[in-house]
């Protein structure tokens, strides 16, 4: 009797995992095919012949891929730190300090993030040029921080809202000031929320395309998605190179996600129980 619903649940999970993983599986399979295999008709589901040539090729001929990945990592890391620092302070102020009109401010913050990033390009480009921020890490980090801060504020504010307010009140009675409470009570208790938010922001930044394309014009400063998509092909798009590079580029993200997976789940489902 117990088995039936369990079975249904597992089937559902399997299907949804398959649906979300299929593109990645296809990507990995593509990176293991020859050029002929990629263009074969009917399409090959199992690489035939199976080859690691693409990986060897890319490591031998395009060492710049590692630079792209490194750039993405630096920008992603910097963006994550900035958004978490500012996002948590803003989120705490908005959710807990009894600010007037906090609700309206939250909506306003959300509204700002509704602009498509492309619309920001002209103003960002000109100002970055003016201040010498083009082709710098800090430049793209600032741009990405601006882009993803609303998300971080919302995410963290909702996490803070789930903490029992009495703990903070007890801390106030014990003699802590607002900043001290934030630092030594709220942050430690919101750890899962920080990890989840940080990771998602990191991934957003890692994948962000339009701003990275425009603000990083030198090849040596390009981020992974931009660099990979600009791989020159002689006659056609070099799918084998692109898919292989992409697989390499998502490895760091997969690793980080695996490390923090417990906190991410905790952060995303905060307040779901109790």
């Amino acid at each position: 009797m117990q088995l039936r619903p369990r079975f249904g649940l597992y089937a559902l999970v399997t299907v949804s995992v398959l649906v979300s993983f299929l593109p990645i599986i296809w990507l990995i399979l593509t990176s293991l095919k020859t050029t002929a295999g990629i263009y074969a008709w009917p399409p090959q589901y199992i690489p035939d012949p199976f080859t690691l040539d693409n990986y060897i090729n890319i490591i031998q001929n395009s060492p710049e891929l590692l630079i792209y990945v490194w750039n993405s990592f630096v920008v992603g890391f910097g963006t994550t730190v900035f958004t978490l620092v500012f996002g948590s302070m803003a989120g705490y102020a908005l959710s807990r300090l009894g600010m007037r009109r906090a609700g309206i401010l939250m909506i306003f913050i959300l509204a700002v993030s509704m602009f498509p990033p492309v619309s920001l390009i002209p103003s960002l480009f000109q100002n970055f040029l003016q201040f010498g921020l083009l082709n710098t890490y800090i430049g793209l980090i600032i741009a990405h921080t601006g882009l993803f801060l609303p998300f971080a504020v919302w995410m963290l504010a909702s996490y803070f809202a789930t903490l029992p307010v009495e703990i903070e009140e007890a801390a106030r009675m014990d003699g802590m000031g607002t900043f001290r409470i934030f630092r030594s009570i709220v942050i430690p208790l919101s750890w899962p929320g920080f990890v989840a938010t940080g990771l998602i922001v990191f991934i957003f930044s890692w994948n962000e395309f339009p701003l990275a394309l425009v603000l990083m014009t030198e090849n040596a400063m390009r981020t992974a998605p931009v660099g990979i998509s600009l791989y020159p092909g002689e006659y056609a798009f070099p799918w084998e190179t692109i898919s292989t590079a992409t697989v390499i580029a998502i490895i760091p993200i997969l690793m980080i996600t695996a490390i923090f997976q417990k906190q991410i789940v905790g952060g995303l489902t905060a307040g779901a129980s109790k």
Partner: protein, 361 residues
């Protein structure tokens, strides 16, 4: 000497008045209980004393000093919360030591004070644990300990026992009583449990709708409720109320006459209607002596054994009365019996205003 004085204190959230005009003096060393139904403003009053809620009207004096705008940590008050509000990521020791650390008390002194308090509360062996690894009762003890180590001038409790199961609640209640006897610190205790209020309080403050209805010792509020609200709120099960009108012959009766009282122990010359109150425990079933009482014939509609006591649902004509009798050999459903309503135990209220009539005039 730490006396807490609330001078016409009020709190409004915009147009909503959570607490209106509370005047109260909590004497040095007194255990004062704020009692009232949910939403009556007990917590708000307590939190204004604590400094967690701004005071929108009136003055708060602690030890003679005006505290309206003083930071909570400088008011000399410590608070115990309903849900304990311990720091989940810190050990029991650190939870209890936090305030002292923030006051920059020397580590050896902290060690000593936390140690003594932990011993007093039976927490010594748990000092290294995190709150998650404690039972509810132990957590509440830690919360109390956290308040004690600070040696505050005033303790504030907001329903500290309501998250505990009934048995543990009784135990902790007694511990709190002992603790107060030992420390003698001025305490304000919020609860909506009247047993807690009756047993712990030196004086009870009964609040309703943001106002203080009555302040008095447990005896006073039980014996002399100032109005129908207090009369009905204090005592369990609640007081019986019977509406009476005076007929042309000057006799007080229920509207359709099933219960008549020839004379009342108060001056009723100017009254046409009133509400009689009598507590279930004061109705005498099968009386031996009928002096100073009105007697009636009643039918038992329902009997419920509570253990030591039993509750009888009685019908006198069309009037329903709840009576509380001993749990041995009590009348059962269907019995017809005689009951007496002792005159001395009656309360009389104005049916319009709910205020109690003074029996002496």
């Amino acid at each position: 000497m730490t006396e807490v004085k609330l001078k016409s204190i009020g709190k409004s959230y915009g147009a909503v008045a959570a607490v209106q005009q509370v005047d109260l003096t909590i004497k040095d060393g007194e255990f004062l209980v704020l009692l009232g139904p949910s939403g009556c403003g007990k917590s708000t009053t307590l939190r204004m004393i604590a400094g967690l809620e701004s005071i929108t009207a009136g003055d708060l004096l602690i030890g003679g000093k005006r505290m309206n705008d003083v930071d909570p940590k400088n008011r000399g008050v410590a608070m115990v919360f309903q849900n304990y509000a311990l720091y989940p990521h810190k050990s029991v020791f650190d939870n209890m030591a936090m305030a002292l650390k923030l006051q920059k008390v020397a580590a050896s002194e902290i060690e000593k004070r936390v140690g003594t308090t932990a011993e007093m509360l039976g927490l010594t062996e748990y000092l290294g644990r995190k709150p998650a690894a404690l039972s509810g009762g132990q957590r509440q003890r830690v919360a109390i300990g956290r308040a004690i180590v600070r040696t505050p001038d005033v303790f504030l409790f907001d329903e500290p026992l309501s998250n505990l199961d009934a048995k543990l609640r009784v135990k902790m209640r007694m511990e709190l009583q002992e603790l107060h006897d030992r420390l003698g610190v001025t305490s304000v205790y919020v609860t909506h449990d009247q047993v807690e209020a009756m047993t712990l309080a030196d004086r009870i403050v009964i609040m309703n709708k943001g106002l203080v209805t009555q302040v008095g010792t447990p005896r006073e509020v039980y014996d002399h409720p100032v109005d129908e609200f207090v009369a009905g709120f204090i005592g369990s099960p609640a007081m019986n109320f019977i509406d009476l009108v005076r007929n042309d012959n000057g006799i007080w009766k229920t509207a359709c006459c099933s219960l008549a009282l020839p004379s009342l122990p108060l001056d009723t010359s100017r009254l046409l209607s009133l509400r009689l109150g009598i507590r279930p425990e004061h109705i005498v079933v099968n009386p031996d002596d009928e002096k100073g009482a009105f007697t009636y014939q009643a039918t038992v509609k329902l009997d419920e054994l509570l253990g030591a006591d039993a509750l009888l649902n009685l019908k006198v004509g069309d009037v329903s009365l709840l009576a509380r009798v001993g749990g041995m050999d009590y009348p059962v459903k269907g019995d017809v019996l005689k009951i007496a309503l002792p005159e001395a135990r009656m309360h009389f209220f104005n049916p319009e205003t709910g205020l109690a009539y003074d029996r002496t005039h």
